[in-house]
Amino acid sequence: MNRENYWASQTFWKKCAIWVTAVMFVILIFLTFDSVSKITAGTERVPEYSVINKKVFYKYSEARDILVPEICCEAPLFGKKLSNDEAADLIDLGKLTIQAKNCMNCHTLLGNGAYYAPDLTKAWLDQGWINESIRENLMVDFLLDPEANARSFGTNRKMPNLGLTEDEAKAVVAYLKWMSAIDTNGFPAWFKPIYQEEE
């Protein structure tokens, strides 16, 4: 290294290290403020929790060339329309259960987690639940006794019984319904949803 060259000197690179780090960090802070405001529940990309009272389905967006969640008419979960507060409480219980039962060390959620069991991002819309009318009850039955109601699609991999109560199981189903309504920029790739009845 030629020490006469300023660009190769320790002083030059020290300044570079400080300035580059500072500038990048400041940009990150600005982007963080913007992103946090756009992923707060109740915004365009991340719907409010009471979306569980509505029908969530998946539609091709020509403008973005991806599949995007659409929310329409009334479709209360377990036949009961919830107030905003009740919906928020149910979602809270669902999230606490998902964390406490350590779902993420077998499944992925929004693609993050472990790869032993299917991704849960669009689990609510999965074809495996046969049709919309029996879906939520099938999901609760599965969560309460995953061994007897195993959904292993011909493999011998099955979920253990994690001792969920019925309330927790319903809350997890509510959570999965809410999560399926998040705009994930088309992830997972070209997802084929459950048969969606025409409105």
């Binding site: 320790q10 990150l28 946090v36 529940a41 350590n102 993050n112 472990a114 991704d119």
Partner: protein
């Protein structure tokens, strides 16, 4: 072991290194259990399910690497500061608090496993968030120990002298401790949860940890091959500029699919594509330093592991990360065995290697500063463990990559990412064969880990201290 010739910091670091090695073995054992469960799902079903074995596997890794880093910093602090450690007692208390906390956390993971859907479960059992599963009480303990550690290191440099390396190191440790706080809150909103979760996971692993190991590497090169301080310090600044220049906004490659706005596709794709640049720079640096020196290496195993670090970091974190960092590709690979493939080689290449190098630096001094050169007795041991661990890690990575290809192709591209598509990919014969190969290479790595432990316990014990290089 004779510790008489160690300074105070180094006496603390030996404890950390022993703790790290024990947890390294635990990581391997639980990795094997999880690997077997992929092939034989009935194995330990309802006793020690995959979510538990995998959690212990990845948590043991994070904690042993942290133990190794703390040990490494304690190892070099007095040498670099030119004075003795200010808080020897504090450092020992920190070690025991951390070790006891880790033991309790692991016992709870194994015997309680999961809780009910309440805040109490998150505070006492586990938080259910990958990599930072430790319950909240342990989080607080970790932060306190890290603060005590930070004080100890910064105060020692303040009492002694500062250098370019120590300046970068102390600022990096501050960032490392501060960023952990971003992961210590609960949100029912999973997009918000994962947004901050990545602040911890990415900004640790792909930014602050990388700079930390660059500091250790800079110091290590001065010690093993007598590299000039001026050169390693300049390179360290180059690396910091490139690492933070690409890595901070490279965070965006985790924000493609979690509900965050579309601009992250561009920002994350662009900056994370630059992330291999500092790793290439390190490779050039190491080759330059070794090539231009009349190379006299006083510690062959440590130097071999430093070289393994440079190549492993470049390949695992750099090349394997780059494979899938562009959103067009990541849409198909995110959340498949591609990620596992990258994760295994990146953690091994970037962090396991340099910790093992530091273990050898330490044991050299413990054994009376003898030269670990070609005259070393039983040198086949360190060479065997080096070979087994590296071949094992590389083989496992390739096997997981093949599995990932199958998964991205079958589950994502053909089957439209459904659950049945997932299981179709898992049942594919090539996928299954890959998982078998992964297990085989995992066994090689585990054997390599035991040989490493054996070597560290015995190396230099029967040597003539005057042996030549």
């Amino acid at each position: 072991m004779a510790f008489a010739n160690l300074n105070l910091g180094q006496k603390v670091s030996v404890k950390y290194f022993i703790g790290a090695m024990v947890l390294f073995i635990a990581q391997m054992v639980f990795g094997l259990l999880a690997g077997i469960q992929f092939i034989q799902p009935e194995f330990l079903y309802q006793i020690l399910d995959f979510n538990v074995t995998r959690m212990v596997h990845i948590n043991a890794m994070i904690i042993w690497l942290l133990f190794g880093f703390l040990g490494s910093v304690y190892w070099l602090v007095e040498d670099e500061a030119g004075t003795s450690l200010v808080g020897y007692k504090l450092a020992n208390i920190g070690f025991w608090v951390l070790s006891i906390a880790v033991t309790i956390v692991v016992l709870v993971y194994l015997f309680v496993q999961v809780g009910s859907g309440t805040q109490a479960s998150l505070w006492l059992i586990n938080e259910g968030r990958e990599y930072i599963e430790a319950p909240r009480w342990a989080d607080i303990g970790i932060v306190l120990v890290m603060l005590a550690f930070f004080y100890n290191i910064a105060a020692t440099f303040m009492k002694g002298k500062w250098s370019g390396i120590s300046g970068v190191l102390v600022l990096d440790l501050l960032a490392l401790a501060g960023i952990y706080l971003a992961g210590m809150f609960y949100s029912p909103n999973i997009s918000m949860d994962q947004f901050w979760w990545w602040w911890v996971v990415h900004l640790w692993v792909e930014a602050t940890w990388e700079v930390l190991v660059a500091c250790i590497m800079a110091w290590g090169l001065m010690k093993t091959i007598n590299a000039r301080r001026e050169i390693v310090t300049t390179w360290l600044y180059v690396e910091v500029a490139l690492m933070f220049g690409s890595g901070i906004l490279g965070l965006g490659h985790h924000y493609f699919w979690i509900g965050t706005p579309e601009y992250w596709l561009t920002i994350g794709g662009f900056f994370s594509a630059l992330e291999p640049v500092p790793l290439v720079a390190m490779l050039v640096h190491a080759v330059y330093d070794t090539g231009t020196k009349n190379l006299k290496v006083s510690n062959h195993p440590a130097f071999a592991w430093f070289i393994a670090h440079v190549f492993g970091n470049f390949l695992g974190a750099g090349v394997w990360g780059f494979f899938q960092t562009l959103p067009q590709i990541n849409l198909y690979t995110h959340g498949t065995q591609w990620s596992a493939s990258h994760g295994h080689l990146a953690f091994f290449g970037a962090y396991v290697t340099i910790n093992v190098a530091m273990f050898y630096m330490a044991i050299q001094k413990i054994r009376g500063d003898q030269i670990f050169g070609s005259a070393l007795v039983n040198k086949y041991r360190w060479k065997t463990s080096l070979a087994l661990l590296n071949i094992g890690a590389m083989g496992m990575t390739i096997a997981l990559l093949v599995a990932g290809y199958q998964q991205a192709f079958i589950e994502r591209a053909v089957e439209g990412s459904t659950w049945s598509g997932f299981f179709e990919a898992q049942s594919n014969l090539t996928f299954i064969a890959s998982m078998n190969w992964r297990l085989l290479f995992g066994v090689l790595m585990t054997i390599g880990t035991f040989v490493l432990a054996w070597d560290l316990l015995t190396i230099g014990k029967t040597n003539d201290s005057k042996n030549a290089t």
